[in-house]
């Protein structure tokens, strides 16, 4: 690394081109603020009908552990969504986990009703954990029996939600949170918001829709009623308030919150694992299978001239989701630039998969190619063509 410092020379030549060694203060780059769409904007009757279909597929999770007092019944823990008509449901791992023991509750129940009212007309089922992904805080469970332990007829069909493609959602798209928040009592609650942001690598969808305790594990659906995410956590912006000016905070002021959803494609991947494996044949309800989380790969490579084979310094290289051509800050997954030897290391590791690779260097044509990133193929060689004179 080089630095610009006062020189040790007594006299320097006349200077016109000015470069000073004054330290530059670091500027804070604020994240772009996306403005929420007008929530008052009307929803078409068709959309309303489609979103309402999610009600019958979304249930209340209640659970208890054997170490709990025998007089204590099951307690509401969160929400869940039926994702397969044979009784496979998804929820958050933390919804079915006893925080005292760190293990799944011994008894987990799902209450479903056609109108979202979990009163006397609703149906109750006992669930068994099948597949757990602790990293993404997701769990797939299967209906084992009805609430009293009687088997479910094989021909029985559960109302299941239609899966959406969370990879294709766009900023400011409408979404609806369907679930059983604690403050909403025992009936289902739906509220509306928009997609405020996406963190593609960390696998989050951010929303301004209200997400509170009890929504965890429920459904976030688009205006077609398709599942695009699982409400998983909320991050509040709380700032300390020093009321008496003594330098110590006396109170916290909450300015707002951002809801975080796990994208539904993670659920689809878990269902695929379920289909490919034998998780449903696990002998013990307390031993669900652990989902395989992809190992992140640090992408390295080299950029060189196609004509001479010489390394190109200062080339900028980035990865986009496969097939994307328009490069924005929200779809640029990872990037880096080449050093004197043409070598680069992208700044964020990515899961294995296919991506679109882009590169740009002065005096060379823009480069674009689809690439496979895997454990054995993380070293990329980019050959760039000279710009024509």
């Amino acid at each position: 690394m080089i630095r610009i410092l006062p020189s040790k020379v007594r006299l320097v030549a006349a200077a016109v081109l000015a470069v000073s060694a004054v330290a530059v203060s670091v500027l804070l780059v604020s994240a772009p603020a996306f403005q929420s769409a007008n929530k008052e904007a009307s929803i078409s009757p068709e959309s309303r009908a489609l979103v309402r279909q999610a009600i019958a597929c979304t249930g209340l999770i209640s659970a208890r552990s054997s170490i709990d007092s025998s007089s204590q019944g099951t307690r509401p823990r969160g929400s869940a969504v039926v994702v397969r008509s044979d009784g496979v449901v998804v929820t958050n791992y933390h919804v079915i986990t006893n925080p005292r023991t760190g293990r799944s509750y011994d008894e987990i129940f799902l209450t479903l009703s056609s109108d979202g009212d979990t009163g006397s007309s609703s149906a109750r089922y006992r669930l068994r954990p099948l597949l757990i992904n602790k990293e993404y805080d997701l769990a797939l469970l299967r209906v084992d029996s009805d609430g009293t332990g009687n088997p479910i007829p094989k021909a029985f069909t559960f109302p299941s939600i239609e899966m959406g493609d969370s990879r294709k959602i766009r900023l400011l798209e409408d979404l609806f949170i369907v679930g059983f928040p604690e403050k909403g009592g025992s009936s289902i609650t739906i509220n509306r918001g928009v997609v405020e942001g996406r963190d593609i690598l960390a696998n989050w969808i951010k929303t301004d829709a209200r997400v509170i305790h009890g929504n965890s594990g429920g459904a976030a659906v688009n205006s077609e009623g398709r599942l695009i995410g699982i409400p998983t956590k909320v991050v509040a912006d709380e700032q300390p308030i020093d009321r008496d000016g003594d330098g110590f905070p006396d109170d916290l002021r909450r300015y707002g919150a951002v809801g975080f959803l796990r994208p539904s494609h993670l659920v689809a991947e878990m269902i695929a694992q379920l289909n490919n494996g034998n998780a449903e044949n696990q002998p013990s309800p307390s031993a669900p299978r652990m989902a395989e989380s992809p190992t992140l790969i640090t992408v390295r490579g080299m950029v060189r001239s196609a004509a001479s084979g010489k390394p190109i310094a200062g080339a900028l290289v980035g990865l986009l989701p496969l097939g994307e051509s328009n490069i924005t800050e929200s779809n640029l997954l990872t990037w880096g630039s080449t050093n004197a030897e043409g070598a680069f290391k992208l700044n964020r590791p990515v899961p294995p998969g296919r991506y679109t690779l882009k590169a740009k260097a002065l005096a060379n044509q823009a480069y674009s190619s689809d690439v496979e990133i895997g454990p054995g193929a993380s070293l990329l060689i980019i050959e760039m063509l000279r710009s024509s004179n």
Binding site: R3, I4, K8, V9, W335, A363, N389
Partner: protein, 240 residues
């Protein structure tokens, strides 16, 4: 820990031209090219620049061969002289690949150059000093007839680093900075691209005050930069 620095001048367009004084002796073709570059510079038949690398030694500035070796703590200055009216940009590419705009800077935003005027980099009593980080530093020097908006935009980035944020990296990869479009911005595929001119080189030597010369060869199409054209070359600083 000691560090050795080697200065090398290079054409980004044709890195085979990465030159050292030793390379000059490789053949008559190189010698002819060097004579031609100096001739183009002096007679102004092509756009060209002379670059003089000066090492701070015993309180004075001494011209050095680009292949000279430097140690940690050594200080250098670089003098540019152009034979054309235009702009120069200087980007430092660190061994890690990080890129930082050195010229222009927030303190000196005017990077315009005028024919026959000599410019010091850094300005005044400042010098480039090598720290302990090993590897090859690159100073990418870009001659341009007009301003280059995506580099100008780096002036607003923290410490003038290029593509530190996702937004600036996306803008550069996509092909420019919105709202500041000029003909010399690198464009995306399908649109007009930056045109880069080949460069020929005459490497400098120790104690040679004429320094190195880079020039755009006049291959029948004229050796002058046109609107939308850039001519980049590299100065390489190697630490060992």
């Amino acid at each position: 820990m000691k560090r050795v620095t080697i200065f090398m001048l290079a054409s980004l367009a044709a890195t085979t031209l990465i030159a050292t004084a030793g390379a000059q002796a490789r053949g008559g073709r190189k010698q002819n090219e060097a004579s031609r570059a100096r001739g183009l510079f002096i007679h102004k038949t092509s756009d060209a620049m002379s670059i003089l690398v000066l090492k701070v030694a015993d309180g004075t500035l001494i011209p050095v061969d680009p292949s000279s070796e430097f140690k940690a703590g050594d200080q250098i200055k670089i003098q540019f002289q152009s034979n054309f009216e235009g702009y120069i940009y200087v980007v430092n590419i660190a061994p890690s690949g990080k890129r930082r705009l050195l010229v222009p800077s927030p303190e000196a935003t005017d990077n315009g150059v005028h024919s026959d005027e000599r410019y010091d980099f850094p300005l005044g009593g400042n010098a480039i000093q090598f720290d302990e980080e090993k590897g090859t530093e690159v100073l990418q020097v870009i001659m341009s007839r007009g301003r280059i908006a995506y580099l100008d935009a780096a002036l607003k980035e923290p410490e003038q680093y290029l593509s530190e944020s996702a937004s600036s990296a996306a803008a550069e990869l996509q092909g420019g900075i919105a709202k500041k479009v000029t003909p010399v911005i690198p464009e995306g595929e399908g649109s007009s691209k930056v045109r880069s001119r080949d460069i020929i080189l005459a490497p400098g030597k120790d104690k040679d005050t004429t320094g190195s010369v880079v020039a755009i060869p006049d291959n029948g199409s004229g050796g002058k930069l046109k609107a939308g054209e850039i001519a980049p070359f590299e100065i390489r600083l190697k630490h060992k």
